[in-house]
């Protein structure tokens, strides 16, 4: 039976419609959001200004002089109905390997500046706190869980090019960490952060409230558009991209940085057909397939 639009529809002033597909984060909700965004985009409606798919909600900007709010709402509702009655298919995407220097000195230095009044554990560090609140025996165990299973880019936003990432594991396996008590005014560029169940890579330096896990050597946003990954567009990640972290050490961090300066660095990536049904049915087995496909390439 068709489920009639169960999402929550609400106006953001006279130019925005927010469609909250689910209150809770889940892979299904995220797929519905992106499915609706793609279907709406394909309609090429007059008066549609911008579509910004979030993790579990879709934000639509429209020009009410061109399309009446009620008309837009009814179009989006029928798209939702169609999507909810269609079983999840296979999405053509890619797997990108992202090198990360976990527990690097740059984010550690920043932590020391934002402790008392900012952090839950003024005397501890962010990774240690992550292990502790997830009842894991050690930092190593926490980080192993962090990079062993792949993640999916569930939203791009906050600042230019910043990806939100959701780990492709069952809900009871999700690593959930509170955000800082009060946001930092500074976060090093390319910090890998974690807040709630989401990872985020800070595309540029700036404020932030996510716990800091490590740092990337290579840009994910390059307005100069000189590196091979950025010749078409300054932003690397798209929603639906699958990310597999690879832990690196100081030596490799600096050698990748050198490649970036030389203008030659390119992220390792493979095309991949992502099957949400298979991923949800047996995440561990499906993640193994993803990693094997990447390593076999």
């Amino acid at each position: 039976m068709t489920e009639q639009h169960k999402a929550r529809y609400t106006w953001g002033g006279d130019e925005f419609l927010l469609v909250e597909v689910e209150e809770d984060m889940s892979l299904q909700a995220n797929f519905t959001v992106h499915g609706m965004a793609a279907a709406l985009e394909a309609k090429k409606l007059d008066g549609l200004v911008d579509i910004a798919p979030g993790n579990a909600a879709l934000l639509i900007r429209f020009n009410p002089d061109v399309i009446a709010p009620a008309e837009l709402e009814s179009i989006v509702k029928s798209l939702e109905d169609e999507l909810r009655s269609t079983p999840p298919g296979v999405v053509q995407t890619r797997v990108i390997e992202v090198p990360v220097w976990f527990e690097d000195p740059f984010t550690k230095e920043t932590m020391t500046r934002f402790r008392e009044g900012f952090h839950q554990t003024p005397d501890g560090d962010d990774v240690e706190y992550g292990a502790q609140v997830n009842n894991l025996s050690s930092k190593e165990e926490f980080l192993r869980r962090y990079y062993e299973s792949p993640w999916i880019v569930s939203m791009v936003g906050f600042v230019a090019g910043l990806p939100f990432l959701y780990q492709l594991v069952e809900r009871d396996q999700q690593l959930v960490v509170p955000k800082y008590l009060s946001p930092r005014t500074d976060t090093p560029e390319l910090t890998l952060g974690h807040g709630g169940c989401f990872g985020a890579i800070y595309a540029v330096r700036g404020a932030g409230g996510y716990q800091m896990m490590g740092i990337l050597p290579a840009p994910i946003y390059q307005p100069e558009m000189t590196l091979p990954d950025f010749t078409e567009f300054s932003v690397l990640f798209k929603p639906g991209d699958i990310v597999k972290y690879r832990p690196i050490d100081e030596t490799e961090y600096y050698s990748i940085k050198k490649e970036c300066e030389a203008g030659t660095y390119k992220y390792k990536e493979i095309p991949f057909a992502f099957d949400m049904g298979a991923s949800l049915a047996d995440p561990a087995a499906y993640n193994k397939k993803i990693v094997e496909a990447l390593n076999g390439a």
Binding site: W11, Y166, P178, G196
Partner: protein, 321 residues
């Protein structure tokens, strides 16, 4: 021709009507914060509404024009000097090559605009000349102005309209110390308790100095949240949501203490519940507020918002007729 920047001012940027269509990649709209004031400047110098202008914050730049130029200063009230002689705002000003322009102390509001016949000619980035400093794009090398910058001016355009030398008093914006800002409640306003809702709508709020192109933070009674289940993945604060896109003009209240209006250069999304959105017609009113401005948030419905939008557009069209 070019403007040679001797002193850059506090935070002067190139802005136009904004960068639309890249929200899904995290690029904010940007553009002049007070669009109406900016458009008055373009009208005075004979441009179209599309030309880029300089947006000045509190302290404007000191500059020399290296050629004859037509300029206008609009927006917040401020003393304007050409070669140390005081001149008027909201009027066409004719500069000779070598003339120097500088500003005195701002007397209200926050931002004023320098429009130049031909417009500020910087390369467009993603369809707009507006500066987005965090993303290092638009404007002059993606940043605020610096001393020594040479700001290129474009060739004059023909807007096909009669020449306007002065903006009528009645058409000039008001920079008040007490304002009403119309909002449409919605988005995540069910996070508020009944008490929280009346705290937000019935009590006055005061704009704090923590106000810039990204957001304006208000001080007041704070708000109470309703008792709710925390959504999975959102975080532990009662004001946390699963991260989603933010409407331009939406109002969030992290921790329940100080409402923040997200303006045209705000982050494009995040994890704080927004309780409503400033209607499009009143975004300029917010942009004109100086710290200390007493503000009341007045709840309107969609029909009222659209009527206000129409009135705003009628005024805009009147200027451009």
């Amino acid at each position: 021709m070019a403007l040679e920047i001797i002193e850059p001012g506090m935070s002067t940027t190139v802005q136009d009507r904004g960068r639309i269509g890249y929200y899904k990649y995290g690029f904010p709209q940007s553009g002049s914060l007070d669009q109406y004031s900016a458009t008055l400047g373009n009208r005075l110098v004979g441009n179209t509404p599309e030309e880029a202008v300089l947006e000045c914050t509190y302290i404007g730049p000191k500059f020399v024009s290296n050629a004859d130029a037509v300029i206008a200063i609009t927006g917040a009230p401020v003393d304007v000097f050409v070669n140390d002689e005081q001149v008027s705002q909201y009027e066409q000003l004719h500069l000779h090559a070598g003339d120097q322009v500088r500003f005195g102390v701002i007397k209200g509001g926050t931002r004023y605009y320098i429009a130049v016949r031909g417009g500020i000619d910087v390369p467009k980035a993603l369809g707009s000349r507006s500066t987005y400093p965090i993303g290092r794009i638009g404007g002059v090398n993606g940043r605020i102005l610096q001393a020594g910058d040479e700001i290129k001016i474009g060739a004059p355009v023909d807007n096909g309209l009669r020449d306007v030398k002065v903006i009528d008093e009645a058409d000039r914006p008001v920079f008040g110390k007490e304002v009403e800002v119309r909002v449409m409640m919605g988005l995540y306003d069910h996070y508020l308790s009944d008490k929280g809702r009346s705290q937000f709508l019935d009590e006055p709020w005061t704009l704090t100095p923590v106000a810039d192109r990204m957001g304006m933070r208000y001080d007041g009674p704070g708000v109470d949240w309703a008792e709710r289940r925390r959504p999975f993945g959102a975080g532990q604060d009662p004001s946390n949501i699963v991260d989603a896109g933010y409407a331009v003009g939406s109002i969030q209240i992290p921790g329940g203490s100080q409402p923040i209006i997200l303006h045209r250069e705000a982050v494009s999304g995040g994890g704080y519940a927004q309780v409503g959105t400033v209607i499009s017609a009143d975004m300029d009113v917010v942009a004109r507020s100086a710290p200390g401005t007493k503000t009341r948030f007045v709840s309107v419905n969609m029909d009222e918002a659209l009527a206000a939008r129409k009135a705003y557009q009628d005024q805009f069209n009147k200027i451009w007729s």
